[in-house]
Subunit: 309 residues, 5 copies
């Protein structure tokens, strides 16, 4: 694996990390059809835990089987596969080394649906190591009452991961009592969520695509005074990437609520044009029939590679 | 102990586990009259703690004695015996090696009866090892307010158990403020509970048999849209097994409220026909006189072996 | 110290324990005037902490001095002496080896009197070892809201104690929001409390003598249906002993509210006749003048030895 | 340092402690002008943290400087100097070995003034060791809702201290929701507070001088029934000392609200006459001009030495 | 690096610290244009986390990039740079050794804005060591309900830091339910906050400049009775420095709400004239265009060096 210039430049932003972590980041950046482009496309499958199995997999029943997802990710040539402990254990040995694995270390379910979700630690760095993963993942919910507990759990996980030479991927999802419903995807809140993850030491940050809504009054004054461009999706991607150390951290995006193909592709275009590092795409891929999913993912990667508008 | 093909296939689903854990799973799967069939029948006796001694043992007073249960399990040829620390300690040395033991590591009592039960850690992996157990057991209550604490305790227990080469059996019992009373045994909730346990790394998952009730509105839409078959008990068993990684995890069932013999046997038939891996049956066996219990258990195992309809 | 048959039989119920723990149990069972009988009479002095010094010791002022109790226990020929850290430290070195010591590791005071008492950990297994104790003691309050925290503290203490070759004595005192005032000493609740302690791995269980009151509706049905004898004190002792693994665990009793000599002796007779393993008697002994206390304790031991009706 | 008989007798009450702890107790008992008398006079300066700097030090501004206190304690010939981490660090190296140091390991401030104070752990046994202290100090607030957390923190501190050969000084200050305002200094409550500290393993117990008020109804019955003398301050000192293992634990006193010289001296006389072990005196000494403080402290020590009435 | 007399005198106040910590304090005191003067000017950049990225960096967009701040601090010749984990990691390797680094180990964000802020531990001493930092930083909020948890986290961090030879910088910011809004910057509260940090073992204490407001009634009596001078800003600086062990601890100040240049410079003059040790200045520097920031910082340092009035 010869690291090319684009990837070397990204890795140079992580100079304080040890060679183990940098090598694992490189494994993601050099894998699959986007390998070497500095872009990423990751398949995350935690929806069985987060929303329940039928809601996640009934639209495409083969997806009940963890092997389905792994095979999809490999065949599509994606950058990495992310899932909770059970799914990773179900395939790690069978497909050892075929695709970089990200172990999601906390999870949340909706059998009790609280205003301020917390999630629970459900896996550890030890699990990631024994299962051959390149990174651990963790979800924080900025805006919740007890986010402090999440941040401290992430702090501990991050410390362990970096000592073990793993990378850290943070899902930063604003939620909870501190925010209105539109505020959860407001551009100011999303940029703030990216900054929080970056300041906590994340190597890769996953946020949702944001809207033009500005949630916080103090922030609104600043956006207006300095006339920060946020009217297009690409503008907002650019602002969020800037908010994560001016592009020195990898920021990837998951889509909005709509999921027809053209919307997904337009989102990919906006991510690319705004300087985003790629997408993480779950239900929109595995809930389609396999051939359609492969085509969609393939097209997205062409957009990221610049092979099509 | 020569592992046959059926058991080898099941063990192949646990490829990421170490040889110690796989050997302990094999010990359960190869033991007793169902040894080698891929089916299980387990005797759990935690009711003294969970409901009180008189309610549990007065119907059949010899059952106050922990030796009674062990002997019943051995004589019946069951797959394993599961109990809290005290019961296991009371018999482990006397009957060392005669039947696989599962140490239930958390317990709950009803001297204070809360809407959102938590249980308490009452034993550990160290205890399981010193007592010669093949597995640890733990009960989670999805749907409760503080389930996060339970999940994190299970996470820690699971990590320790897997490092020690033990198997992990999770009782996944939906309860609490997040659910209506019928919702606790709704098919969507039961399938979700199986998924949660599977994602958390359980090797064996114990759920209750479910009803046709669908609890969550979002789930209901999916069950209707995709016309998921749930009208018969066997249908629901099949759906729950599918929800645990499409059959890649061992799912066993405890019965509903009725306990006449014919109901129990019909439930066993439904479990078998739906692709379930067997039963865990406590009060329905040890509250009967010993000969009746032996006959019932024997008949169930014939059903699971396919020796009778 | 030659272990006789009666004691050997009792020790055989603890076959899963290591030789260190069994030796320490034997030390209690072989000590004093009841040594070798399989019966126990223990002096506990934690009332200074639990109720305050004046309420405990003013009736017999020499009892303010920890040496008083130790000397009383030795002179009377009791089986063991139990107390919190301070009292044990005050005498352990001066009387090293003269009587088995039980270190009470949690304590509660009534300067704030809560409905759901918790107690606090006030000593540890390390203390018990450095002070030459044979056992640790711990009080649980089944029926309280947060009993889970107590059970988990006991679990940890028990694990440490058994690894260190110590015995575990559990005071199981139903209290709190889950119970009515009469319910705290109801026979169903007391039997349940004994079962809980037994399931948690206690070697010796201390409960209060119970009344005919039945607290829980579900239990009441069972007591009536199966016509469980509970009308005499001896009946209730028998039922509680049965509820602790059918006599496989040592259960000892503290008295009811009355404390005239005849009542105490009648209680001892009931404990003996019901198959109880003895008494733990604090205020009723040390609040009397020393000669009266010695006589009372002597008489109780005669009853337990079967030397008088 | 030749230990004389009076001190040897006191040390004999701590026979269960290791030689390190006994040597450190001896260092306090043999130091300064009261060395060898079995009496103590300690200077505590935690008021900057507990009440704020201006309230503590503005009456005598040189007292803002930690060196001031140390020098005062040395020049006056006191037994020991007690303070939080910052003050101890500020002088420990400069005056190493000149006076025994007690590191106060928890602290409370009144910038938020709660009904049930908790305090926070602000130093540790490791700090005490690296700073050359002879003892650690800790304040408990019996009567508060969450005193359990304090007791458990003290338990852990005490265990560490005794293993490290340090002595343990407990400030036992009744406070909180469980008590009326007069109850905080009631004689029953004060005696109970001394007992609690003693039972938790304290070597030296600091309580406030108490009033004739009796707080708890159950206690009141006993004080009246047994006619316990509590009408003079000396009576109450005697009762409190008796309540701490009949004089087997060192109990020292801080004064009431009044602070004119004669009151302070009369209190010292009462402490002496009641068998108390001495005083701990902070604001009453350091808030006076230095010469007055030296005179007051000198006079108190004469009283304790019996050189003046 | 030859330590001059002024710095040696300051270091002599930290005699109880190990040579590692003293060397790290010396590194800060000897660095940059104020090196050797005993004064400090520190650039802290935690506002991205504390207030959000746009509010912090939009006024001067190059400041989104962590490299901007580092370069600013180096070019200006400041004493040290302080930031959360992410910012430190982003530059530590590239600029290793060029300026002393302070790792802020806890952080707070305002996506949920609580009355009693807590913050979260977001970095550790291990991080500080691997990143080559000279000190750790931590923010406490005296006046908040649960400040106890903050103090205990700081206690643990401080212990680790001192063992590792690092210095400890404490941001002591009164907030929360215990205080009125004006009280947060009242002179009594600010002095108290400085005392708390000092007593907890901080080497460097950062407080805000205070107002004449006196918050606490008990304190007000003392300020009036002893006529403590607080009418000028320099008076209040002097009082706060006195409240931190009479000048034996380094106290630095951040400015008030106004931020025009003249105000900032006048504040620097007051800090100097009141005996303060310098400033910590974030938004007021990095939100200006770079040339203006360099000029402002340069002028401040001239004031501290006494080169201009």
């Amino acid at each position: 694996m010869k690291i090319n210039g684009q990837v070397q430049k990204i890795l140079s932003h992580y100079e304080s990390d040890n060679p183990g972590t940098k090598a694992n980041l490189a494994r993601i950046l050099m894998h699959g059809k986007l390998g070497g482009t500095g872009k990423l496309l990751i398949l995350p499958v935690d929806q069985g835990m987060e929303h329940g199995p039928a809601r996640s997999f009934a639209p495409n029943p083969p997806a009940y089987d963890p092997h389905y997802h792994w095979q999809l990710a490999i065949e599509a040539g994606l950058s990495a596969f992310a899932a909770p402990l059970g799914f990773i254990e179900a395939v790690a040995a069978d497909y050892a080394g075929e695709i970089p694995l990200i172990l999601k270390c906390n999870s949340h379910d909706v059998l009790y649906d609280e205003k301020d979700p917390m999630g629970a630690m459900t896996a550890s760095v030890e699990d990631a190591l024994r299962l051959g993963c390149v990174a651990v993942g963790y979800t924080i919910y900025p805006g919740t009452v007890d986010r402090r507990l999440l941040y401290e759990q992430l702090q501990s996980l991050t410390l362990d991961a970096k000592e073990a030479g793993l990378a850290v991927v943070v899902w930063s999802y604003p939620r909870g009592s501190g925010l209105s419903k539109p505020g959860e995807s407001g551009v100011d809140v999303t940029a703030y969520a990216a900054q929080i993850a970056a300041q906590m030491g994340a190597h890769v940050i996953k946020v949702k695509l944001s809207t033009e809504h500005i949630e916080q009054a103090e922030a609104k004054k600043v956006y207006e005074k300095y006339n920060i461009p946020i009217s297009t999706l690409a503008d907002r991607v650019r602002h969020v990437v800037q908010s994560a150390f001016n592009g020195r951290r990898i920021v990837i995006f998951s889509g909005g609520a709509k999921s027809d193909t053209e919307t997904v592709l337009n989102e990919a275009r906006a991510i690319r044009d705004g300087g985003g590092f790629g997408s993480i795409i779950g239900r929109k891929s595995f809930q389609r029939p396999r051939p359609e999913a492969l085509e969609l993912l393939g097209t997205m990667m062409k957009i990221y590679r610049g092979e099509m508008q």
